[in-house]
Symmetry: C2
Subunit: 184 residues, 2 copies
DNA sequence: GTTTGCATGTAAACGGTTACATGATTGG
DNA sequence: CCAATCATGTAACCGTTTACATGCAAAC
């Protein structure tokens, strides 16, 4: 989903600043489903304001720049609903890690092990975020999203952990020399 | 991974045309890990040729445009290995479907059911591609990629199918009227 | 005293998609 | 006869990221 629609969706849950939208996209239930940086959020909010889909009110802040709090308008709600009608863009998943694994036979065993360990850590981080989201999930929709994430990442993690056991770690002597070269 | 690196990686497996690279990215082991359209592949191959990372030989074709068959050069191999050293970009997953599910309470039950059915079909299609890839997988790396994909999508599918049972389908009378409004 | 968090924004660059243009061959 | 497959390419557009610019307050 484009940043515009993400902003509208979050504003449905109450007034927010661009900064708060960023935080929510980064750490909430949306975290594993969407991404958005300041560089896309701020211009999106400006444009939404020009189009009358949101309104701003400026709150003077104690030091630093003033806060701009956005609210969604009735037209904004309509635009959001329109975005969820019609055909949705297909899911897309990109993984440089999995791409690299396809060429594991060209990598040094130590490198493979290091990549797997990094990926394992990344998966665990995502699972932690999802578990938090699941705990605070209020609607069946939120629970579905969290549970699908947990199931997917959990299953991937288990496969990866199993595979890790067959890869020599590179620094220590491999657990079993018989496994050396398994990836060639 | 950028299209450049994907092209180099595939050429490692033998000479190919841009068209063949496209097919492989679309249907092979890479299918659920990477995407690339003609509009990015052809310019990438042109640039790689200019940089000496690949070479072309032109094969006259029986009708239609001539075939351009690309081969990777030793410098190309080095460039590929360099791309797999350093830090890899993080995985990214975007799902308009899951985003929409977060706002399920604003959707009509029929729409929710329709979206779920579409998503279920999409997951099954991906699983079919992965199963094919798994059958022809030659290296442990390819098997890992396919098995992680199967585990992830399979787990997601099961959660989704369970959830589907709780959603009134919209057209027929719901299996149990007691379930109506479950999403509100 | 340095890092982290709060808070906003801009401009250039990037990588990629979409649509268009062309045309023969093969299979249903 | 029409659709799909083979086969290449360009150009305009798109959304987004990255890097930069600024600055206070609180926590460590």
């Amino acid at each position: 989903m484009d940043v515009r629609t993400v902003c509208l969706g979050l504003l449905l849950g109450g007034d927010r600043t661009g900064y708060e939208i960023r935080k929510q996209v980064d750490a909430g239930a949306l975290a594993h489903v969407t991404e958005a940086s300041f560089g896309s959020i701020y211009p999106a909010l400006t444009r939404l304001t020009q189009e009358g889909l949101v309104t701003v009110r400026v709150e003077p802040a104690r030091g630093g720049p003033e806060k701009k709090v956005y609210s969604i308008t009735p037209e904004g709600r309509l635009a959001f609903e329109a975005a969820l009608s019609g055909d949705l863009p297909e899911d897309r998943f990109r993984s440089a890690f999995l791409f690299a694994m396809l060429f594991a036979d060209r990598l040094q065993p130590g490198r493979i092990a290091a990549l797997i360990d990094l990926q394992t850590a990344a998966l665990r981080r995502k699972l932690a975020i999802i578990d938090t989201a699941l705990r605070v999930a209020a609607t069946p929709g939120e629970r579905l999203v969290a549970e699908m994430g947990r199931a997917s990442y959990g299953a991937a993690l288990r496969v990866l952990e199993d595979f890790r056991l067959t890869v020599p770690s590179g620094r220590a002597a491999a657990p079993a020399a018989a496994l050396e070269g398994q990836l060639l």
